[in-house]
Symmetry: C2
Subunit: 115 residues, 2 copies
Amino acid sequence: MLSAQYKLNGRIWIESSDGPLIGPGRVDLLERIQQCGSIRQAALQMQMSYRQAWQLIDDMNTRLNEPVVMSHRGGKGGGYAEVTENGLRVIQQFKIIEQQFQKFLAACSEQLKTD
Amino acid sequence: MLSAQYKLNGRIWIESSDGPLIGPGRVDLLERIQQCGSIRQAALQMQMSYRQAWQLIDDMNTRLNEPVVMSHRGGKGGGYAEVTENGLRVIQQFKIIEQQFQKFLAACSEQLKTD
């Protein structure tokens, strides 16, 4: 009943009983912090406020057993932010699942065409 | 890095270049219309306005090659709404994909625990 013009789309996130914890947006934020070493710069790139970015990071740092980002104050450049090993694992783990999800979506979209 | 308290969640929908066309909410609406034979009753059950429900139905009827719901006016009971064969196929097709998606989420949630 559905022609080739239709496809399956969706979104996924990791959650606990306290609600969503890790999704595509937060992983994007972590990756940008990793690249530019700054929460402020990463927030700017994503067109969100520093406060908003900081709250997302703080939520992950608080709810995970280990922090995902560490902030270092002072020094020559005026401090920097660093994605921890745990944060890198979170990024990798989510990206692997996201890849599997994209495959699932593609397979189901094919299925729609032949149904 | 993620303990047993975390799980993967998500949502899926079928879309065309004009945007989302069929998702869990619309399928729920179709099933309720099928059960009670009335768009108005189905809308009430879902706590949406008749207008909103009608717009969702109209969108599917317009964008799919065949309508999903037919309205019959007049008669003893003051008319009724009927889910078409095409509508029933849409419901079934989406539910099969939704089941596969729930399996995918469960498998990934297991994977999170062992990573």
